[in-house]
Protein backbone atom coordinates (compact mmCIF):
# COMPACT_ATOMS: atom_id res chain seq x y z
CA UNK A 1 0.00 0.00 0.00
CA UNK A 2 2.84 2.32 0.89
CA UNK A 3 4.55 1.73 -2.42
CA UNK A 4 1.29 2.54 -4.22
CA UNK A 5 1.09 5.98 -2.58
CA UNK A 6 4.75 6.75 -3.09
CA UNK A 7 4.60 5.55 -6.69
CA UNK A 8 1.55 7.61 -7.61
CA UNK A 9 2.18 10.48 -5.21
CA UNK A 10 2.37 13.07 -7.98
CA UNK A 11 -0.81 11.88 -9.63
CA UNK A 12 -2.68 11.74 -6.32
CA UNK A 13 -1.60 15.28 -5.43
CA UNK A 14 -2.76 16.48 -8.85
CA UNK A 15 -6.10 14.73 -8.37
CA UNK A 16 -6.63 16.29 -4.94
CA UNK A 17 -5.59 19.76 -6.16
CA UNK A 18 -7.98 19.54 -9.11
CA UNK A 19 -10.82 18.28 -6.95
CA UNK A 20 -10.40 21.09 -4.42
CA UNK A 21 -10.36 23.71 -7.17
CA UNK A 22 -13.33 22.10 -8.89
CA UNK A 23 -15.32 22.33 -5.66
CA UNK A 24 -14.18 25.95 -5.25
CA UNK A 25 -15.36 26.73 -8.78
CA UNK A 26 -18.71 25.05 -8.14
CA UNK A 27 -19.15 27.15 -5.00
CA UNK A 28 -18.53 30.32 -6.96
CA UNK A 29 -21.03 29.36 -9.62
CA UNK A 30 -23.80 28.79 -7.07
CA UNK A 31 -22.97 31.67 -4.81
CA UNK A 32 -23.11 34.75 -7.04
CA UNK A 33 -26.06 37.03 -6.60
CA UNK A 34 -27.21 39.07 -9.54
CA UNK A 35 -27.74 42.57 -8.29
CA UNK A 36 -30.71 44.55 -9.48
CA UNK A 37 -30.14 46.21 -12.78
CA UNK A 38 -26.67 44.82 -13.14
CA UNK A 39 -25.31 41.62 -14.51
CA UNK A 40 -22.24 41.66 -12.30
CA UNK A 41 -21.23 38.31 -10.93
CA UNK A 42 -20.61 39.30 -7.32
CA UNK A 43 -18.14 37.11 -5.54
CA UNK A 44 -18.73 35.29 -2.31
CA UNK A 45 -17.01 36.46 0.85
CA UNK A 46 -14.08 34.01 0.64
CA UNK A 47 -13.37 34.82 -3.00
CA UNK A 48 -13.44 38.54 -2.20
CA UNK A 49 -10.89 37.97 0.56
CA UNK A 50 -8.56 36.20 -1.90
CA UNK A 51 -8.92 38.99 -4.47
CA UNK A 52 -8.38 41.60 -1.78
CA UNK A 53 -5.21 39.88 -0.53
CA UNK A 54 -3.77 39.80 -4.04
CA UNK A 55 -4.80 43.41 -4.74
CA UNK A 56 -3.18 44.61 -1.52
CA UNK A 57 0.13 43.10 -2.65
CA UNK A 58 -0.04 43.89 -6.36
CA UNK A 59 -1.65 47.35 -6.45
CA UNK A 60 1.14 49.25 -4.59
CA UNK A 61 3.79 47.70 -6.86
CA UNK A 62 1.79 48.60 -9.96
CA UNK A 63 1.20 52.10 -8.63
CA UNK A 64 4.94 52.49 -8.03
CA UNK A 65 5.71 51.17 -11.53
CA UNK A 66 3.18 53.56 -13.04
CA UNK A 67 4.73 56.42 -11.04
CA UNK A 68 8.22 55.51 -12.24
CA UNK A 69 6.93 55.24 -15.81
CA UNK A 70 5.27 58.65 -15.66
CA UNK A 71 8.32 60.17 -13.98
CA UNK A 72 10.58 58.88 -16.74
CA UNK A 73 8.20 60.10 -19.39
CA UNK A 74 7.96 63.55 -17.80
CA UNK A 75 11.74 63.73 -17.48
CA UNK A 76 12.03 62.96 -21.19
CA UNK A 77 9.36 65.46 -22.14
CA UNK A 78 10.52 68.27 -19.87
CA UNK A 79 14.29 68.13 -19.98
CA UNK A 80 15.57 65.88 -22.72
CA UNK A 81 13.20 66.33 -25.62
CA UNK A 82 13.82 70.03 -26.28
CA UNK A 83 14.48 69.84 -30.00
CA UNK A 84 12.16 71.99 -32.06
CA UNK A 85 10.73 73.77 -29.04
CA UNK A 86 11.29 77.24 -30.58
CA UNK A 87 9.45 76.31 -33.78
CA UNK A 88 6.71 74.67 -31.73
CA UNK A 89 6.40 77.87 -29.72
CA UNK A 90 5.81 79.93 -32.87
CA UNK A 91 3.26 77.40 -34.10
CA UNK A 92 1.45 77.40 -30.77
CA UNK A 93 1.37 81.19 -30.67
CA UNK A 94 -0.26 81.23 -34.11
CA UNK A 95 -2.75 78.61 -32.95
CA UNK A 96 -3.57 80.65 -29.83
CA UNK A 97 -4.34 83.71 -32.00
CA UNK A 98 -6.58 81.62 -34.23
CA UNK A 99 -8.34 80.08 -31.24
CA UNK A 100 -8.97 83.47 -29.67
CA UNK A 101 -10.93 84.47 -32.73
CA UNK A 102 -12.76 81.16 -32.64
CA UNK A 103 -13.45 81.60 -28.93
CA UNK A 104 -15.15 84.94 -29.53
CA UNK A 105 -17.43 83.35 -32.06
CA UNK A 106 -18.18 80.43 -29.75
CA UNK A 107 -18.85 82.76 -26.82
CA UNK A 108 -21.63 84.42 -28.78
CA UNK A 109 -23.10 81.01 -29.61
CA UNK A 110 -22.82 79.90 -25.98
CA UNK A 111 -24.66 82.98 -24.71
CA UNK A 112 -27.38 82.36 -27.21
CA UNK A 113 -27.52 78.72 -26.12
CA UNK A 114 -27.79 79.70 -22.47
CA UNK A 115 -30.65 82.01 -23.23
CA UNK A 116 -32.46 79.30 -25.16
CA UNK A 117 -31.81 76.78 -22.41
CA UNK A 118 -33.31 79.06 -19.80
CA UNK A 119 -36.20 79.74 -22.09
CA UNK A 120 -37.03 76.08 -22.55
CA UNK A 121 -36.45 75.30 -18.87
CA UNK A 122 -34.03 72.51 -19.56
CA UNK A 123 -32.70 70.78 -16.57
CA UNK A 124 -29.01 70.60 -15.97
CA UNK A 125 -28.04 67.48 -17.83
CA UNK A 126 -24.61 66.48 -16.57
CA UNK A 127 -24.82 66.70 -12.80
CA UNK A 128 -22.37 63.88 -12.29
CA UNK A 129 -19.99 63.74 -9.38
CA UNK A 130 -16.87 61.98 -10.57
CA UNK A 131 -13.58 60.74 -9.22
CA UNK A 132 -10.53 60.80 -11.47
CA UNK A 133 -8.57 57.56 -11.34
CA UNK A 134 -5.42 56.36 -12.98
CA UNK A 135 -5.19 52.97 -14.66
CA UNK A 136 -2.34 51.05 -13.02
CA UNK A 137 -2.78 47.55 -14.40
CA UNK A 138 -4.74 44.96 -16.32
CA UNK A 139 -5.90 41.41 -15.70
CA UNK A 140 -2.96 40.21 -17.78
CA UNK A 141 -5.28 37.97 -19.78
CA UNK A 142 -7.17 38.56 -22.99
CA UNK A 143 -9.95 36.30 -21.75
CA UNK A 144 -10.82 38.71 -18.97
CA UNK A 145 -11.06 42.41 -19.81
CA UNK A 146 -10.44 43.93 -16.42
CA UNK A 147 -8.33 46.93 -15.48
CA UNK A 148 -7.05 48.02 -12.09
CA UNK A 149 -7.39 51.65 -11.03
CA UNK A 150 -5.68 53.50 -8.20
CA UNK A 151 -8.84 54.57 -6.35
CA UNK A 152 -10.88 52.42 -4.01
CA UNK A 153 -13.39 52.42 -1.18
CA UNK A 154 -11.37 55.09 0.63
CA UNK A 155 -12.24 57.43 -2.25
CA UNK A 156 -15.94 56.59 -2.13
CA UNK A 157 -16.00 53.96 -4.88
CA UNK A 158 -18.59 51.21 -4.78
CA UNK A 159 -19.33 48.19 -7.00
CA UNK A 160 -21.36 48.85 -10.18
CA UNK A 161 -20.39 52.51 -10.44
CA UNK A 162 -19.98 53.51 -14.09
CA UNK A 163 -16.51 54.28 -15.40
CA UNK A 164 -16.13 56.65 -18.32
CA UNK A 165 -13.69 58.79 -20.27
CA UNK A 166 -14.58 62.07 -22.01
CA UNK A 167 -14.95 59.99 -25.21
CA UNK A 168 -17.40 57.41 -23.89
CA UNK A 169 -18.08 54.64 -21.41
CA UNK A 170 -15.37 52.22 -20.33
CA UNK A 171 -17.18 49.82 -18.01
CA UNK A 172 -18.18 49.58 -14.41
CA UNK A 173 -16.58 48.90 -11.06
CA UNK A 174 -16.43 45.17 -10.35
CA UNK A 175 -14.51 44.80 -7.09
CA UNK A 176 -13.52 47.55 -4.69
CA UNK A 177 -10.49 47.34 -2.43
CA UNK A 178 -9.37 50.03 0.04
CA UNK A 179 -6.96 51.81 -2.34
CA UNK A 180 -7.70 50.21 -5.69
CA UNK A 181 -10.58 48.80 -7.68
CA UNK A 182 -11.19 46.40 -10.54
CA UNK A 183 -13.07 47.79 -13.52
CA UNK A 184 -14.92 45.37 -15.78
CA UNK A 185 -14.54 46.76 -19.29
CA UNK A 186 -17.57 46.74 -21.55
CA UNK A 187 -15.85 44.37 -24.01
CA UNK A 188 -15.57 41.57 -21.43
CA UNK A 189 -17.74 38.52 -22.06
CA UNK A 190 -19.49 38.94 -18.73
CA UNK A 191 -20.17 42.67 -19.16
CA UNK A 192 -23.48 44.11 -20.27
CA UNK A 193 -25.36 47.38 -20.65
CA UNK A 194 -28.60 48.73 -22.02
CA UNK A 195 -28.05 50.78 -25.17
CA UNK A 196 -30.04 52.69 -27.74
CA UNK A 197 -29.25 53.57 -31.34
CA UNK A 198 -29.19 57.34 -31.65
CA UNK A 199 -31.21 57.89 -34.83
CA UNK A 200 -33.39 54.78 -35.15
CA UNK A 201 -34.18 54.71 -31.39
CA UNK A 202 -33.83 50.92 -31.37
CA UNK A 203 -32.88 49.49 -28.00
CA UNK A 204 -30.51 46.59 -27.49
CA UNK A 205 -28.19 44.86 -25.08
CA UNK A 206 -24.46 45.50 -25.13
CA UNK A 207 -22.12 42.54 -24.69
CA UNK A 208 -18.47 41.79 -25.12
CA UNK A 209 -17.31 38.73 -27.01
CA UNK A 210 -14.33 36.39 -26.79
CA UNK A 211 -12.38 38.45 -29.31
CA UNK A 212 -12.73 41.55 -27.14
CA UNK A 213 -15.23 43.22 -29.46
CA UNK A 214 -18.23 45.18 -28.27
CA UNK A 215 -21.53 43.96 -29.70
CA UNK A 216 -25.19 44.90 -29.48
CA UNK A 217 -27.27 41.73 -29.49
CA UNK A 218 -30.93 40.68 -29.40
CA UNK A 219 -31.93 42.91 -32.31
CA UNK A 220 -34.27 41.89 -35.08
CA UNK A 221 -33.07 42.62 -38.63
CA UNK A 222 -33.89 46.22 -39.52
CA UNK A 223 -32.95 47.98 -42.76
CA UNK A 224 -32.76 51.32 -40.98
CA UNK A 225 -29.65 50.29 -39.02
CA UNK A 226 -26.61 51.42 -40.94
CA UNK A 227 -22.87 51.28 -40.17
CA UNK A 228 -21.66 54.49 -38.59
CA UNK A 229 -24.77 55.00 -36.48
CA UNK A 230 -24.01 56.24 -32.99
CA UNK A 231 -24.89 54.07 -30.00
CA UNK A 232 -25.65 55.58 -26.59
CA UNK A 233 -26.46 54.20 -23.17
CA UNK A 234 -30.20 53.88 -22.63
CA UNK A 235 -30.20 54.03 -18.83
CA UNK A 236 -32.34 50.91 -18.68
CA UNK A 237 -29.71 48.90 -16.85
CA UNK A 238 -29.72 51.35 -13.91
CA UNK A 239 -25.92 51.40 -13.99
CA UNK A 240 -24.97 53.80 -16.76
CA UNK A 241 -26.69 57.20 -16.99
CA UNK A 242 -28.62 57.80 -20.18
CA UNK A 243 -27.03 59.30 -23.24
CA UNK A 244 -23.37 58.47 -22.73
CA UNK A 245 -21.50 57.60 -25.91
CA UNK A 246 -20.79 53.90 -26.34
CA UNK A 247 -19.49 53.75 -29.90
CA UNK A 248 -20.41 53.62 -33.57
CA UNK A 249 -21.84 50.68 -35.48
CA UNK A 250 -18.97 49.08 -37.41
CA UNK A 251 -20.66 46.05 -38.93
CA UNK A 252 -24.00 44.26 -38.95
CA UNK A 253 -24.20 40.47 -39.09
CA UNK A 254 -26.53 37.62 -38.24
CA UNK A 255 -26.08 36.42 -34.67
CA UNK A 256 -24.97 32.83 -35.30
CA UNK A 257 -25.79 31.74 -31.78
CA UNK A 258 -29.28 33.25 -31.75
CA UNK A 259 -30.78 33.40 -35.26
CA UNK A 260 -32.77 35.23 -36.60
CA UNK A 261 -31.43 38.02 -34.37
CA UNK A 262 -28.62 40.21 -35.62
CA UNK A 263 -25.52 41.42 -33.79
CA UNK A 264 -23.99 44.84 -34.31
CA UNK A 265 -20.27 45.10 -33.81
CA UNK A 266 -19.29 48.50 -32.44
CA UNK A 267 -16.20 50.67 -32.63
CA UNK A 268 -15.98 51.79 -28.98
CA UNK A 269 -15.91 55.55 -28.43
CA UNK A 270 -13.35 55.18 -25.64
CA UNK A 271 -9.96 53.73 -26.51
CA UNK A 272 -10.20 50.61 -24.36
CA UNK A 273 -6.82 49.30 -25.46
CA UNK A 274 -4.86 52.17 -23.99
CA UNK A 275 -6.53 53.84 -21.07
CA UNK A 276 -4.48 56.20 -18.94
CA UNK A 277 -7.04 57.99 -16.80
CA UNK A 278 -10.72 57.36 -16.26
CA UNK A 279 -13.61 59.01 -14.46
CA UNK A 280 -15.73 57.06 -12.01
CA UNK A 281 -19.26 58.43 -11.67
CA UNK A 282 -19.90 58.33 -7.95
CA UNK A 283 -23.13 60.32 -7.95
CA UNK A 284 -25.70 61.30 -10.53
CA UNK A 285 -28.59 63.72 -10.49
CA UNK A 286 -32.08 62.31 -9.93
CA UNK A 287 -33.24 62.60 -13.51
CA UNK A 288 -30.44 62.12 -15.95
CA UNK A 289 -30.94 62.91 -19.54
CA UNK A 290 -28.78 63.87 -22.43
CA UNK A 291 -29.36 65.48 -25.79
CA UNK A 292 -30.94 63.12 -28.23
CA UNK A 293 -32.03 60.52 -25.69
CA UNK A 294 -33.96 61.84 -22.76
CA UNK A 295 -35.12 65.15 -24.10
CA UNK A 296 -38.37 66.63 -22.90
CA UNK A 297 -39.82 66.44 -26.39
CA UNK A 298 -39.14 62.74 -26.64
CA UNK A 299 -40.59 62.09 -23.21
CA UNK A 300 -43.73 64.01 -24.14
CA UNK A 301 -43.98 62.13 -27.44
CA UNK A 302 -43.67 58.77 -25.65
CA UNK A 303 -46.38 59.77 -23.18
CA UNK A 304 -48.69 60.87 -26.00
CA UNK A 305 -48.14 57.60 -27.84
CA UNK A 306 -48.81 55.58 -24.71
CA UNK A 307 -51.89 57.61 -23.89
CA UNK A 308 -53.23 57.19 -27.42
CA UNK A 309 -52.83 53.42 -27.27
CA UNK A 310 -54.81 53.07 -24.05
CA UNK A 311 -58.63 52.83 -23.97
CA UNK A 312 -60.46 55.78 -22.37
CA UNK A 313 -63.70 55.85 -20.41
CA UNK A 314 -66.43 58.21 -21.54
CA UNK A 315 -67.60 59.84 -18.30
CA UNK A 316 -71.06 60.71 -19.68
CA UNK A 317 -72.06 57.27 -20.94
CA UNK A 318 -69.68 55.13 -18.87
CA UNK A 319 -68.59 53.21 -21.96
CA UNK A 320 -64.99 52.38 -22.83
CA UNK A 321 -63.74 53.70 -26.14
CA UNK A 322 -60.43 53.51 -27.96
CA UNK A 323 -59.10 56.89 -28.86
CA UNK A 324 -56.21 55.50 -30.87
CA UNK A 325 -56.01 56.35 -34.52
CA UNK A 326 -54.04 53.99 -36.69
CA UNK A 327 -51.11 55.41 -38.61
CA UNK A 328 -51.86 53.20 -41.63
CA UNK A 329 -55.53 52.17 -41.41
CA UNK A 330 -56.70 49.11 -43.32
CA UNK A 331 -59.95 47.15 -43.59
CA UNK A 332 -59.34 45.58 -40.18
CA UNK A 333 -58.96 48.91 -38.39
CA UNK A 334 -62.01 49.67 -36.16
CA UNK A 335 -64.25 52.32 -37.69
CA UNK A 336 -63.13 51.93 -41.31
CA UNK A 337 -65.82 49.40 -42.20
CA UNK A 338 -69.52 50.15 -41.68
CA UNK A 339 -71.35 47.94 -39.15
CA UNK A 340 -72.92 44.72 -40.50
CA UNK A 341 -76.44 45.93 -39.59
CA UNK A 342 -76.19 48.73 -42.16
CA UNK A 343 -75.09 46.44 -45.00
CA UNK A 344 -77.41 44.80 -47.53
CA UNK A 345 -76.98 41.55 -49.50
CA UNK A 346 -75.53 42.17 -52.99
CA UNK A 347 -74.19 45.57 -52.09
CA UNK A 348 -70.65 46.26 -53.48
CA UNK A 349 -67.75 45.83 -51.01
CA UNK A 350 -66.52 48.94 -49.27
CA UNK A 351 -63.19 50.27 -50.61
CA UNK A 352 -60.26 48.82 -48.81
CA UNK A 353 -57.34 51.02 -47.76
Amino acid sequence: MESFFSRYKGLLVLGIVLLVQLIALATQIHRPTVTAGADARSDGHHVRVVRLAIAVVVAPVERALTGVGHGTRNLWRNYVYLRGVRQKNYDLQAEVDRMRLEQMSLLADARQGQRLQQLLGFRQQYLYKTVVAQVIGTSGSDQSRVILIDKGSNDGLKPDMPVITPDGIVGKIREVFPDSAQVLEMNDQTAGAGVILETTRIRGILRGNAAGQVQVIDLLPDDRIKPGERVLTSGGDQVYPRGLAVGDVESIALDRQHPPYIALTLRPAANLAQLEEVLVITETSGALSAPGVGSEAEMQRSMDTAAGALPTVDSATGTTTRSATALHPDRFTPGTVPPASSMRPGEPKPESH
Binding site: G10, L25, R41, L65, G140, Q143, Q182, N209
Partner: protein
Protein backbone atom coordinates in the same frame (compact mmCIF):
# COMPACT_ATOMS: atom_id res chain seq x y z
CA UNK B 1 21.16 13.56 -27.62
CA UNK B 2 17.45 13.99 -27.28
CA UNK B 3 16.67 11.73 -24.38
CA UNK B 4 18.18 11.53 -20.95
CA UNK B 5 17.84 8.66 -18.55
CA UNK B 6 16.61 9.14 -15.02
CA UNK B 7 20.12 8.28 -13.84
CA UNK B 8 21.49 11.36 -15.61
CA UNK B 9 18.76 13.37 -13.95
CA UNK B 10 20.07 12.47 -10.49
CA UNK B 11 23.58 13.37 -11.58
CA UNK B 12 22.40 16.78 -12.81
CA UNK B 13 20.02 17.74 -10.02
CA UNK B 14 18.88 21.36 -10.45
CA UNK B 15 18.11 23.60 -7.52
CA UNK B 16 17.25 27.25 -7.06
CA UNK B 17 17.86 29.64 -4.24
CA UNK B 18 14.61 29.94 -2.24
CA UNK B 19 14.50 33.67 -2.99
CA UNK B 20 14.49 32.90 -6.72
CA UNK B 21 11.60 30.47 -6.29
CA UNK B 22 9.55 33.22 -4.63
CA UNK B 23 10.66 36.34 -6.50
CA UNK B 24 10.54 34.99 -10.07
CA UNK B 25 6.83 33.96 -10.00
CA UNK B 26 5.87 37.24 -8.27
CA UNK B 27 7.82 39.26 -10.83
CA UNK B 28 6.21 37.31 -13.68
CA UNK B 29 2.73 37.91 -12.23
CA UNK B 30 3.32 41.63 -11.76
CA UNK B 31 4.79 42.11 -15.23
CA UNK B 32 1.89 40.15 -16.70
CA UNK B 33 -0.66 42.61 -15.32
CA UNK B 34 1.42 45.78 -15.72
CA UNK B 35 3.06 45.57 -19.15
CA UNK B 36 -0.20 45.06 -21.19
CA UNK B 37 -1.26 48.45 -19.84
CA UNK B 38 1.64 49.97 -21.81
CA UNK B 39 1.77 47.48 -24.70
CA UNK B 40 -1.65 45.84 -25.23
CA UNK B 41 -0.26 43.06 -27.46
CA UNK B 42 1.89 41.84 -24.58
CA UNK B 43 -1.25 40.11 -23.33
CA UNK B 44 -0.54 37.33 -25.84
CA UNK B 45 2.44 36.33 -23.72
CA UNK B 46 1.79 34.31 -20.58
CA UNK B 47 4.84 34.88 -18.39
CA UNK B 48 3.40 32.95 -15.41
CA UNK B 49 2.83 29.98 -17.74
CA UNK B 50 6.46 30.15 -18.88
CA UNK B 51 7.57 30.17 -15.25
CA UNK B 52 5.39 27.14 -14.46
CA UNK B 53 6.80 25.27 -17.47
CA UNK B 54 10.38 26.21 -16.58
CA UNK B 55 10.17 25.21 -12.94
CA UNK B 56 8.31 22.05 -13.94
CA UNK B 57 10.88 20.85 -16.44
CA UNK B 58 13.95 21.87 -14.46
CA UNK B 59 12.93 20.89 -10.93
CA UNK B 60 11.38 17.67 -12.28
CA UNK B 61 9.21 17.09 -9.24
CA UNK B 62 5.59 16.31 -10.07
CA UNK B 63 4.29 17.53 -6.71
CA UNK B 64 6.38 20.71 -6.88
CA UNK B 65 5.26 21.33 -10.47
CA UNK B 66 1.61 20.82 -9.57
CA UNK B 67 1.75 23.08 -6.53
CA UNK B 68 3.68 25.81 -8.37
CA UNK B 69 1.15 25.68 -11.20
CA UNK B 70 -1.77 25.84 -8.80
CA UNK B 71 -0.45 28.79 -6.78
CA UNK B 72 0.58 30.84 -9.80
CA UNK B 73 -2.71 30.07 -11.55
CA UNK B 74 -4.80 31.04 -8.53
CA UNK B 75 -3.01 34.38 -8.18
CA UNK B 76 -3.61 34.99 -11.89
CA UNK B 77 -7.30 34.19 -11.43
CA UNK B 78 -7.61 36.63 -8.54
CA UNK B 79 -6.61 39.44 -10.87
CA UNK B 80 -9.20 38.62 -13.51
CA UNK B 81 -12.93 39.04 -13.43
CA UNK B 82 -13.49 35.31 -13.74
CA UNK B 83 -14.05 32.76 -10.98
CA UNK B 84 -10.95 31.69 -9.08
CA UNK B 85 -9.74 28.26 -10.14
CA UNK B 86 -9.80 28.46 -13.95
CA UNK B 87 -6.10 29.18 -14.40
CA UNK B 88 -5.39 27.31 -11.16
CA UNK B 89 -6.69 24.03 -12.59
CA UNK B 90 -5.14 24.54 -16.02
CA UNK B 91 -1.71 25.42 -14.67
CA UNK B 92 -1.77 22.62 -12.07
CA UNK B 93 -2.08 20.16 -14.96
CA UNK B 94 0.59 21.98 -16.99
CA UNK B 95 2.97 21.98 -13.99
CA UNK B 96 2.43 18.25 -13.47
CA UNK B 97 2.86 17.48 -17.16
CA UNK B 98 5.99 19.65 -17.47
CA UNK B 99 7.57 17.91 -14.50
CA UNK B 100 6.67 14.49 -15.91
CA UNK B 101 8.17 15.32 -19.29
CA UNK B 102 11.22 17.01 -17.75
CA UNK B 103 12.25 13.66 -16.33
CA UNK B 104 12.35 12.07 -19.77
CA UNK B 105 13.44 14.75 -22.22
CA UNK B 106 16.60 16.82 -22.55
CA UNK B 107 15.18 20.14 -21.55
CA UNK B 108 18.39 22.09 -22.01
CA UNK B 109 18.01 22.03 -25.77
CA UNK B 110 16.57 25.29 -27.14
CA UNK B 111 14.46 23.60 -29.83
CA UNK B 112 13.00 21.13 -27.31
CA UNK B 113 12.14 24.01 -25.02
CA UNK B 114 10.40 25.96 -27.76
CA UNK B 115 8.41 22.92 -28.86
CA UNK B 116 7.47 22.09 -25.29
CA UNK B 117 6.37 25.68 -24.67
CA UNK B 118 4.29 25.66 -27.85
CA UNK B 119 2.57 22.40 -26.86
CA UNK B 120 1.96 23.54 -23.28
CA UNK B 121 0.61 26.92 -24.43
CA UNK B 122 -1.88 25.15 -26.68
CA UNK B 123 -2.76 22.72 -23.87
CA UNK B 124 -3.26 25.63 -21.44
CA UNK B 125 -5.62 27.39 -23.86
CA UNK B 126 -7.59 24.18 -24.50
CA UNK B 127 -7.92 23.52 -20.76
CA UNK B 128 -9.10 27.07 -20.05
CA UNK B 129 -11.54 26.87 -22.97
CA UNK B 130 -12.99 23.58 -21.68
CA UNK B 131 -13.24 24.82 -18.08
CA UNK B 132 -14.89 28.11 -19.07
CA UNK B 133 -17.24 26.68 -21.67
CA UNK B 134 -18.15 23.32 -20.14
CA UNK B 135 -17.92 24.00 -16.41
CA UNK B 136 -18.78 27.68 -16.19
CA UNK B 137 -21.07 27.99 -19.21
CA UNK B 138 -19.34 30.99 -20.77
CA UNK B 139 -20.00 31.73 -24.45
CA UNK B 140 -16.36 31.23 -25.30
CA UNK B 141 -15.08 31.18 -28.86
CA UNK B 142 -12.01 29.36 -30.08
CA UNK B 143 -10.05 31.83 -32.19
CA UNK B 144 -7.37 30.00 -34.15
CA UNK B 145 -5.57 33.12 -35.27
CA UNK B 146 -5.22 34.41 -31.73
CA UNK B 147 -4.16 31.01 -30.40
CA UNK B 148 -1.54 30.63 -33.13
CA UNK B 149 -0.16 34.08 -32.32
CA UNK B 150 -0.12 33.16 -28.63
CA UNK B 151 1.75 29.88 -29.29
CA UNK B 152 4.36 31.63 -31.45
CA UNK B 153 4.80 34.50 -28.99
CA UNK B 154 5.26 32.20 -26.00
CA UNK B 155 7.58 29.82 -27.86
CA UNK B 156 9.83 32.70 -28.94
CA UNK B 157 9.70 34.38 -25.53
CA UNK B 158 10.63 31.09 -23.85
CA UNK B 159 14.08 31.27 -25.42
CA UNK B 160 14.81 34.57 -23.68
CA UNK B 161 12.96 33.87 -20.43
CA UNK B 162 14.48 30.41 -19.99
CA UNK B 163 17.95 31.79 -20.78
CA UNK B 164 17.55 34.38 -18.01
CA UNK B 165 16.24 31.75 -15.59
CA UNK B 166 19.13 29.44 -16.46
CA UNK B 167 21.49 32.07 -15.05
CA UNK B 168 19.68 31.80 -11.73
CA UNK B 169 19.84 28.07 -11.25
CA UNK B 170 22.57 26.09 -9.59
CA UNK B 171 23.43 22.50 -10.37
CA UNK B 172 24.00 20.06 -7.54
Amino acid sequence: MALNSTLTRHENETTFHPVVLVVVPILALILQVYVPHLFPHFVLLDLPLLVVIYFGITLRGQVAGTMAGMLIGLVQDAQTGHPIGVNGMAKSIIGYAAASIGIRIDVDNTISRMLLTAVFTLANSILIYIIERRLLGFDGQWLWLRETARILANALASVVVFWILDRLRRKG
